[in-house]
Symmetry: C2
């Protein structure tokens, strides 16, 4: 799929069919996610691929009952790696590694869209609970849950603010 089409087509998908998500698709998605830029090329991000029903149910609960997390065939938990970014100090842990994860998530969502699948960027969850469920070490912070599956319904794009509202010339 063309880049522009993928960007324009990508939308939050919260309803999934039972169609499986092939391992090859997940691995290619992760490979392309890892191509995203990162501060100092430190790649301060890790990904946990979850397919187990029990774990997905726990994740949905940790996401305050967002049940679609559980119903996706696969959930990729995207984490910031605070050790790998530590040379950058507080700016590294509070900004760079969060950006590094986010850029890779966007790559992954675009790729998923280009393959006819759907995903949803889930940010509302209890990080401590998710860390416990996945047995994450202390230096690894989960920041995005990314359920992936075949969309039940056609993807519907939400409206955007006018560019004039967001874009400023030379200064504010």
């Amino acid at each position: 799929m063309e880049l522009k089409e993928a960007i324009e087509k990508r939308a939050s998908v919260r309803g999934f069919t039972d169609d499986p998500v092939p391992d090859e698709l997940v691995m290619e998605m992760l490979r392309l996610g890892a191509q995203a830029p990162s501060a100092g090329n430190l790649q301060a991000r890790d990904f946990i691929v979850v397919r187990g029903a029990e774990t997905k149910a726990k994740l949905a609960k940790a996401a305050f009952g967002q049940d679609f997390v559980e119903r996706a065939p696969v959930v990729v938990v995207c984490c910031a790696n605070l050790s790998r970014i530590r040379n950058y100090g507080i700016r590294g842990t509070d900004l760079y590694c969060l950006q590094d994860v986010a850029a890779s998530v966007e790559n992954m969502m675009l790729y998923v869209t280009s393959q006819g699948f759907g995903s949803c960027w889930v940010g509302a969850f209890d990080e401590v609970q998710v860390s416990r469920i996945l047995e994450l070490p202390e230096n690894v912070r989960p920041v995005v849950l990314l359920p992936v599956g075949m969309p039940k319904e056609p993807q519907r794009k939400t409206p955007r603010l006018k560019l004039e509202t967001l874009v400023h010339n030379e200064k504010w």
Copy 2:
């Protein structure tokens, strides 16, 4: 350009020719950036398009002397809008709006690459100085400087960690 090709081709470009960057390219880049997902579709991000030599010189200085910022025909300063995200509390201001900006920056970098141009994600700068230079209101936080131009040299991709290092199955 195909999505995959854009993702694989994108690399940090720090040397630019004098070729101009058309306004149409910048506007299309911003339009596609705004298509990125955002928490609650609040789109808590703003963009300042800077072409003025004097302002670019000041930005380069605020970026601790990263001179290539000054030499790019255009610099897009990408900001988190703390007011637009305020309903989400601290998680909104410390995480969501940073992710929202980052996802849009990735879209923009991919588009720039697809058009034969180059860019570089600059995160190391003094936010207070940049805010002063651009007269940003208090609720707007600059988090990425994105210089854009025609690459002087072929883009060279930096190596990536092995996927086995980054990817975990079911749990850590």
